[in-house]
Symmetry: C2
Amino acid sequence: VTAAWAERLPHDVETPALLVDVGVLERNLSRMARWASASGLGLRPHAKTHKCVPVARRQLAHGATGLTVATVGEAEHFADAGVHDLFIAYPLWADGARAQRLAALARRVHLRVGVDSAEGAAALGELVRGGGGADPEAPGGDIEVLVEVDSGQHRSGVPPSQAPVVAAAAARSGLMVRGVFTFPGHSYAPGASVRVAAQESATLAEAAALLDERGFDTSVRSGGSTPTARHSDASSLNEVRPGVYAFNDAQQIALGTCTASDVALVALATVVSTPAADRFVLDAGSKTVGADRPPWAAGFGLLPDHPGTIVSALSEHHAVVSLDTASGAPLPAVGSRVAVVPNHVCNAVVLADELLAVEGADVVERWPVAPRRANR
Amino acid sequence: VTAAWAERLPHDVETPALLVDVGVLERNLSRMARWASASGLGLRPHAKTHKCVPVARRQLAHGATGLTVATVGEAEHFADAGVHDLFIAYPLWADGARAQRLAALARRVHLRVGVDSAEGAAALGELVRGGGGADPEAPGGDIEVLVEVDSGQHRSGVPPSQAPVVAAAAARSGLMVRGVFTFPGHSYAPGASVRVAAQESATLAEAAALLDERGFDTSVRSGGSTPTARHSDASSLNEVRPGVYAFNDAQQIALGTCTASDVALVALATVVSTPAADRFVLDAGSKTVGADRPPWAAGFGLLPDHPGTIVSALSEHHAVVSLDTASGAPLPAVGSRVAVVPNHVCNAVVLADELLAVEGADVVERWPVAPRRANR
């Protein structure tokens, strides 16, 4: 059992701020790592959730095989901190300065990149052969690629039947095809996780079989969102890439992936206004917790210590909290502090310069978040 | 007539990036300034939209009386750049380090702050008398306050009938009451602007009359969102605080406040994937353009050069664009570049380290955005 957030809120910290309970974080990291190990799956956590070197180090200490990132900038951020095995799970378009940055990365870390088109593969291949154009005498390092397949989210990624076409283009371009990956983002819907995990496993299995037939290496078959990871079929996948599991958030509670006591990150907010008996206002708005609100979410985040409330509206610097007056819950005092669980923690973290690591109600460390430029 | 964005997209810039067309920006600033001047209204633009000193300087050059900001951090950012007249349009809770920062600000600029509760006023008053606790020998500078009233958004702000209670508490606390303000955020709905502007004007007039009766100074009566500003009743208000008008965005187009040619800021994005005939994917996701999507918006932003498209889904680093194949519009090539107009420009700017000022397709300046810590 985890203490109420009310007992874990530091008093000497300016609001709004993002707090990470180190004990809960460690428990989340350990659970997923033990599960992956017991299932015989590689765990490559997605670092876009935390963008924090101290969290990445803890994930690697728990046995992660490397990190997943979304951008070249995130890869650079973690490479600078000594992480040497990185997968950019994104169909990168490698032109201009980005090509040079990728080539430089490939020379210093074990780099794997997503690809889902012949054009994208050709551009990546050019930089491997030419070093990104920066220095024709210094060709880019080796780049491994995974073909992205669509397991039903209908975002990027080709249907499995097209995977051999993309793999062939990549091979022709001088890239090392190592397998397939997918992101089952449609698992972010109530009741979807088991069904979507089955789709994800089937899609990866189908694509890998088609590549096998044509003699491609399929030693990596990578999937796994936070909602689906623990439902993965270890005979189809051999790597999972959950991100949110490190912190959890209001979406994961609503999806049933975790309970409120598994939430490791909250926004610390001050009650700035109590203008009516059924409403109070916090200083943590969309520029602190992010504006994400899927249609199935009850509000724009939740207040774990204030049952009977809904974050009913969010502006940039205001969260309006509706209070069910029939519940008998009192209106908090102006100046008091509350914890807010963001709907989608990744989009809260990107707005902060640092995360405050707390043990009990003490800030024990300040963890810098990668700079905004790392979003590209 | 403004050129298509396709003719204004620089080729040597990494994506995603935020571009500002300097000519359109200047036209937007000039129009609002000329209108305010002709209407006899003070213009105090809200700088949370741009968080950029170069844009603030242009607004002041066009005759703005000062700036509006949302946080102490934004006030510090602009004070450091020499802006000496600042209104923090927010019911600040002045405790701890924030009180010290406010007191320091009040000693160096003309500072006005919002207040909507007796408790908030008492905390502000303490710092004026005591200098925020940092140095008991150096009391805080003078702080003017405006009482925040609720004109129908039901966020912060008291009903006009309660304004005298808050003003009296502020006066007792040693603060200089200078008038009233409101933010009519419910003007962000189709067809609402004229009606909401009338509510805003009536609310300010009612609150000011009640304060007048009790002998309070009401020399400032401040309102004005971008949708309502130009409908303001100059007999009720004497100051407007629009923010978005500098750049405009997809919401303002949908509300009819501006046309597509008035949009000064776009995200420059690359097409990274064309996995199906009716869909392409851009590298500008919610970590570039923000996740805001009001129920009345057609999508998560819009592509001005690609009619017949809808930004139908947004993840952190992907925008999925649906293409109406019946329109005959071609799927853009992987690697090509497009402009994306964010739904809500304020929540795009906060995610960027800098805005790229363009003239034609040339980047002429790079404007730093206030650091993330300025969000508090």
